[in-house]
Symmetry: C2
Subunit: 378 residues, 2 copies
């Protein structure tokens, strides 16, 4: 690839050109008309839509057509446990929660606990089990309704999933996975099979609910290759082609040019975990958040900062709900009225306010995990 | 391959040279010393051992060493449902039943209901489910003790198996399956993964029983490539390398030179099913069983028949328990004293006597299927 970025389900790096990615992946841009059509049903536009954080889709029009005909979709998203949850992980989940509330639909949340075990040499199932539990707490803490939200854990629910995965797998050759994922002959046979398991929650609810339902998958754009493959197969086994709505990555603290996706595996310092305390958040932002400011205060007051590369400002575009406030911060930082340290403080306060409340809900979630895990009759 | 035969888990054909196969596969011949050592524990020698129908093994000495130290093994065999049961299928099961009785050990019987679905283009799960049930009846009819015999059905028990299969799969590359099974890039990803599922029952009982136990797999020699692969992996994940004891194929009615294995997929006429009635058995043997006799009665009386290529005689080596009777038949057919039709009648009577009783037990088995299917606590 001649681009200086990589976006695959297993590696995201470089300075991602999202417009180019739309063409490469063959997804569609979310335009104003589509935003408005969504708003017709939701009554408001989530900041992730307004700010093009959710920027691309496949077949959203089909989802809305069916919804308008009275044929409700279900939501499917997921998390492959491989580390503690960081703020970047929350982005699609926060949006999924909003979709669930506004459209009043069921969510099937997959935890493919075998994925990282199969793809990471040193990952054990003991590691995965620990992270699985921690990750579930974060999902629950976001306030999902347990009556409408069902956790599917691949190895636990394999009795439901494996047979369905075989139906998908029968229609995917090794050649297809080579071109979709760049696999080689040295890939292990579990990693080769895995994409079939990721396809299952896109139609399993139609089997469980005994009703053919459209599926909408909110997800970060790197997962698109899985669904590109499964969208070809799923209609052939009798279900709707799943639709998707896709987001950008929360940049790593080190700056967008180094790592487009905030990855918890590239060192704890590059990320904010949902369990970080206020002091840690303060220290990490102050120490690591790439700054768009000038070298000296004098220069900054004179020239102004660059919010477009400043990670603290970019993070505020994800976490500050109020558009007016955000515009004000942008203007003041660009003019030099706000210093980098002050901008960082705005972000630190915003994140710590969010995390204080999130961490309380996260502790409460320990009591409710079983209510979310799918079981027959749920 | 320059040999005029093929033996893989998916295809068996040609005139198999079993001595050559021992070298190619790297298995060991069962010699007299080993036969006697087995007999020390069993008190008798099964006709399949005496007649070298079970002719090869891997690590039988380890199994007996451990057994003599008081460390009992468990048995593992299986059947991939893809058609009705024929008499060839019963051969390893009959021997397995004998081993279970003599050594007083548990048997884990795998029904990999996804295997033929994945490997056969036109096979559906509806087909497989039907055959699964029919095949289970035949296993039960052989008289296995439900307290010591546990059926494991892959898609049903995937909640137990898939996680373990991933542990195996992580250590098998696509390259390995290419060389073991001859896979190409056009194989589907389910078929590529499948061998990991076949490995699981070789160590799952040690997990369920919370005790590291040796595993002995009685099976037809064509399944050896699966266990060759899994024997490398299983010790690395903390269990004993499974041992095996391997049998030849009951030849097809058309003769050994055409098809070494009696295959139910090469036309109903080549096989005797466990559900065939007495008249069908008589007609099939009379019409299709390849004869070693001469063209005319006169010639036959003068030259004699050739029992070594006569399928009816070969089948009697599998189904006639009495050595003295068998020697007598051999001598009389070779001398021309018995005509081909008479030899066929001996076989027809033998098979029909067996099937009459088997079919009664098979009907009774319908009531007991649930007692055999593994569930927690069984």
């Amino acid at each position: 690839m001649t681009d200086n970025y990589t976006v695959t389900p297993w590696e995201v790096k470089g300075n991602i050109d999202y417009d180019k990615l739309i063409k490469e992946f063959g997804v569609s841009k979310i335009d104003e008309a589509l935003q408005k059509r969504i708003m017709k049903h939701t009554g408001e536009m989530h900041r992730f839509l307004r700010r093009n954080i959710f920027f691309a889709h496949r077949d959203m029009k089909f989802i809305l057509d069916e919804y308008e005909k009275g044929n409700k979709f279900f939501l499917y998203t997921g998390r492959a446990p491989s580390g503690n949850t960081h703020l970047g992980h929350l982005v699609p989940w926060i949006f999924t929660k909003w979709l669930q509330d506004k459209f009043d639909v069921e969510l099937w949340f997959q935890f493919p606990d075998e994925e990282k075990f199969l793809f990471k040499e040193n990952m054990t199932f003991d590691d995965v089990d620990k992270y699985l539990y921690e990750n579930m707490l974060d999902v629950i803490a976001l306030g999902f309704d347990p009556k409408k939200t069902h956790f599917i854990i691949d190895t636990k629910h394999a009795g439901l999933m494996y047979r369905e995965a075989c139906k998908v797998a029968k229609r995917i050759t090794f050649s297809t996975t080579r071109s979709a994922f760049g696999f080689t002959n040295e890939n292990n046979i579990g990693s080769i099979f895995y994409t079939a398991m990721q396809a299952v929650p896109a139609f399993l609810p139609s089997i469980i609910r005994k009703k053919k339902m459209p599926c909408l998958i909110p997800h970060a754009i790197d997962q698109d290759p899985h669904f590109r493959v499964s969208r070809d197969v799923i209609p052939k086994i009798g279900f709707y082609k799943p639709a998707s709505i896709q987001c950008r990555f929360l940049p790593g603290l080190g700056g967008m040019s180094e790592d487009g996706k905030m990855s918890s595996s590239s060192g704890d310092s590059a990320t904010i975990f949902t369990t970080d305390n206020a002091k840690t958040v303060k220290n990490k932002i102050n120490k690591y958040a790439f700054s768009g400011g000038q070298a000296t205060i004098e220069e900054h007051r004179k020239i102004g900062g660059n919010p477009d590369v400043d990670v603290s400002y970019q993070w505020l575009t994800f976490f500050e709900e109020d558009d007016a406030k955000l515009v004000d911060i942008y203007r003041k930082y660009k003019s030099g009225e706000i210093l980098s340290g002050e901008l960082k403080k705005i972000l630190i306060d915003k994140l710590n306010a969010f995390l204080e409340s999130h961490q309380i809900k996260r502790e409460e979630a320990r009591k409710n995990v079983d209510d979310f895990i799918y079981r027959e009759g749920k």
